[in-house]
Symmetry: C2
Amino acid sequence: MKLKVKEINLSTGGPLIAVLHEKTAKQISLFPKDRVHIRKIRIKKGITCVTNISNKGIHENEIGLFQEAFHKLNVPEGTQIEMTLEEKPISIQYIKKKLNGEELNAKEIDTIVKDIVNNELSEVELAYFVSGCYTKNLTINETVALTNSIVNNGERLHFKDKIVLDKHCSGGVAGNRTTMIVVPIIASLGYKMPKTSSRAITSASGTSDTMEVLAPVTLSKDKIMQIVNKTNGCIVWGGGVDLASADDKMITVRHPLSMDPTGMLLASILAKKKAAGATHVLIDIPYGPGVKVKTKKEAKQLMKLFYKVSKRLDLKIKVVLTNGFQPIGNGIGPALEAADVLSVLQGDGPNDLREKAIFIATEMLKLVNEKNPLPKVLDAIESGRAYKKMLEIIQAQGGHKHPVIPKAKYFYNINATRDGKITFIDNQKINKIATMAGAPDEKAAGIYLRVRANREIKKGTTMFTIYSNSLQNIETIKRRLKEINPITY
Amino acid sequence: MKLKVKEINLSTGGPLIAVLHEKTAKQISLFPKDRVHIRKIRIKKGITCVTNISNKGIHENEIGLFQEAFHKLNVPEGTQIEMTLEEKPISIQYIKKKLNGEELNAKEIDTIVKDIVNNELSEVELAYFVSGCYTKNLTINETVALTNSIVNNGERLHFKDKIVLDKHCSGGVAGNRTTMIVVPIIASLGYKMPKTSSRAITSASGTSDTMEVLAPVTLSKDKIMQIVNKTNGCIVWGGGVDLASADDKMITVRHPLSMDPTGMLLASILAKKKAAGATHVLIDIPYGPGVKVKTKKEAKQLMKLFYKVSKRLDLKIKVVLTNGFQPIGNGIGPALEAADVLSVLQGDGPNDLREKAIFIATEMLKLVNEKNPLPKVLDAIESGRAYKKMLEIIQAQGGHKHPVIPKAKYFYNINATRDGKITFIDNQKINKIATMAGAPDEKAAGIYLRVRANREIKKGTTMFTIYSNSLQNIETIKRRLKEINPITY
C-alpha cells in the first residue's frame, strides 16, 4: 500500500510510532499496535513501526510518523512510501511463554532485551513482559541472563584497574546520604569508585538531587571517565548516561503500577553496577516499617538472592542488613543533606550519619581485602584528605571550589507538646513533610531533625524544623500536622 | 502550574492524553503515564489526563491535548489552564491486587470496568489488568461480576418479549455460516433473535463480513431495535454498536499478545448476549486440531464453565459440542458463503451446512421448550418462510430485495494428483488460502470446496477452486501450495 509521509511533531522517547487513519487501518484489517514495515519506493530495507490509529489529523492516503520514526526513515514530508503489514517479532512469543509460566533461556531473554533497546516493542508489550516477570517470578538463571543482556546491550564504562568499587542501597531511609561521604573516602584511599545514583521518585531527595546542590550531575560517559580517571571518584546521575537503557525503558512501564518484580529489581541493580565497570559492590539493605524492605526476614531473603545471582556474574559483593527504623542524619532535603555530608567530611556532623558512612566504607575495604580498614577510613576523615577529595570531585564535575549551600527563606519549629520518650520516627512521614515543604525541586526545602528514637524529651523541646521558600507550604503542613506527624512519643 | 493549551490533531480512540515537554515534567517530578488534573483558571472541576512526555512539538509553557481531551476540556487553543498532579485512581490498586493473586470482589471489578469505560486507565494499566486475569485466572465469582459490570456500564437493547434468543460459536471452522440460516428460521417461527456478530480477525470471513454482501451491517442501536421489532431478527456487526464498550477496549490490549484469559473470554461472550437483550442462548463449541478449542476435553471444561457462570447471570443456556475437524459448507469467503446461505434457505445448498443449521435451530427451540421442534424447523425451510424472512431482514437492514452476489474475475482449480481417500481438511490452511486470495476485503475472493474428509477421490478430481480478482494472488498461492496445501489424502 502506498502512502504519503506526514511528520508528527511529537516524540515518544523510544518506540517508533506510525499513525494511520482508521479507514486505512480497516482496509488492511490492521489493529492498533500491529506492526507495519515502511520503506522508500524501490528500496528494500525500511523501518518497522508500531501503529496507532486516529480518525483525526491524518488523511486516508497518509502515514503519520512521530519524530523517532520520521528521523529514522529519513525522507522529506510528502514522500510516497510503501507500507506492508509486518509479523510480530519473535520476542512476543517469548513474553507469552513467560506469562504461561515457562522459564526463558538466555537467548530468549537476550532477544527480548535487544528488541527493548531497539524500541521494537510497544509499551503494552513491555508491560506484559514485566507482568510475566512479576506474576511468574524470574529464576536465578533468568535473573543472571537478564542482567547480562542489560549490560551487553547498553553503554559501559571501562577502567583499566583490577578493582573498581561501588555501593548500592535498597532505600527508603530519609536522609542517609552515606554515598557522598563514602565515595571521597574510598577515592582518597586510592580506589576507583564511579558512582551513578538516582533522583528522588517519591522521597525528599535522591543522592543525585543532593549532589546537584554542590555540582552538576548530568554528565556524558566520556566526561565521567575523564573525571574518574583523574580523581578516582564521581557522584553523577545515572539517568544522564545510557548505561542500562533496557532497564530505563522497563522502569517506564513498571512505574504506573509500581511493579517491582524481584528478579527484575536485582537485574536492574547489578546490571547498573556492572555497566559502570564495578568489580566489587557493597549492598546495603536497611529494613524497617517505613522503608522498602519491611522485615529482617525479607531482607535476608533478598540478601541470599543477591549472593546467588552475583556469584554467576563475576561480581564480588557483600550484603549488609542495617537498621532502617528511623532517618539517618539531621537534614532531609537536598541542601540540608549536602550540609550534613560536608560537615561529616570535615570531622563533624550528625553522629549516626558519620557512623554509618564509616561502617559502609570499612566493609567496602574488607571486600577488597584491605588490611586495617577501620583506621584507614577514620584517618581519611580526620586528616582532611576525604574532604579535599570531595572538593576535587565537585570541581571536576563542574561545581564551585567553595560550594555555597542555599538556605530557605522561612522556617518553622515543631516542638514537643508534653514530656515523653520518643518511640518511633516514621521515614515515610518525614519524607512526606519534606516534599510538602518543596523538596527536592526546591533545593533548600526540607526538614532539620533534632531528635532520635529512645530520647527523652521535655515539653517545648524542638523536635524538628521545617524549611521552605513558601509560607503557604508551611501553613499547609501546619494544618495537616496531626495526620502526618512523624514522631511518636 | 499554569500552562497554555495546545491542540494536538490526533485522536486516541479512548484515553485522554496530555503531552508535556520533558523539562516541564522534570520540574514537577512527573513520570510518563502519571496523571494530571487540568482545569480552567478559577473553575474547580476539570479533566484528568494520562501524560505523555515529548521533547519536540511542545514548549515548556504548553500542554498538548489529543482530540478526546481537547474536546472534553472544551477551551480554545492558547487558553491558560491550571495543572496539578493527580493521584492514581483506586482501580490501579485493585489491578495490582489481582496481579498479586487475590480475588477481587464485585465492587472492585465494577470500579475497574467503570474506569475502563470512562477512559481513565492508560493502555499499559489495562494490559496489567488483562495480565492479572490471564496469569491468576478469574474465579466464577469474578467472571460473573465482570460480565455484569460490562453489561451495566454499556449500551443495551431492551425488548418487551419474555423470550429473546441468541447463539454463539467459539469459532475457527471455515465456512460454517449457520447463524445466517438460523436467524431467519427462528424469526420466522415468531421468536426474536437480535444477532450481533463479529468480523474476521485472522479468518477468511466473519458473519458480519458475509452478511455485508447482502446488506449493510453497521447500524445504530435505534435502527437495530426498529428492525428487530419489525422482522424479529437482524444480523449486524457488534462493533457498530456500543453494547459492551469495556470489552472492546480490553480487546485492543489483548490483541498484541493474543491474550485470551478464559474468564475474560466468557465474560465478553455472555456480556454481549445479555447486552443484546438475550434470555436464552445456544453456545456451539466446535473442537478439532485447527480450530479455537483443540480437544473434546478442553471443550467439556469450557462447557462446564459456561453453565456455572450463566446460572448466576439469569441467562438460560445450552452448550453443544460439535465436530470442528473440517470446514462446513462449500464456500469460504464472504460472497461464496452468502451464496451457500441463500441456497440452504431455498431448500438446497451444501448438506453439512444445512444439517448443522437445522441442528442448531432445533436445539434453540428445545431450549425454549417448544414442542416438536425439528418438524417446525424443517417446515420453516421447506415452506420458503425462512427464506422470505431472510429477504425481509436484508431489506430492513437496507439491502436490496433481490440481492446480487458478486463473482470473482479469476478462478483456479486444484485437482487431485493421484487416487486416494481424503483423511483431513485443515481449517487454518483453508482460511489462509482464502485470505491470500483476497478475503474478506475482496468480498468475491475465497475458496469453493468440492470434497469432504473420508471421501475417495480419483486423480484429476477437482478438490477446490480458488476465486480471486487478482491473478497475482492466484500465482502466489500456486507457488506456495505445497506448504499450505489444506487437504491430506
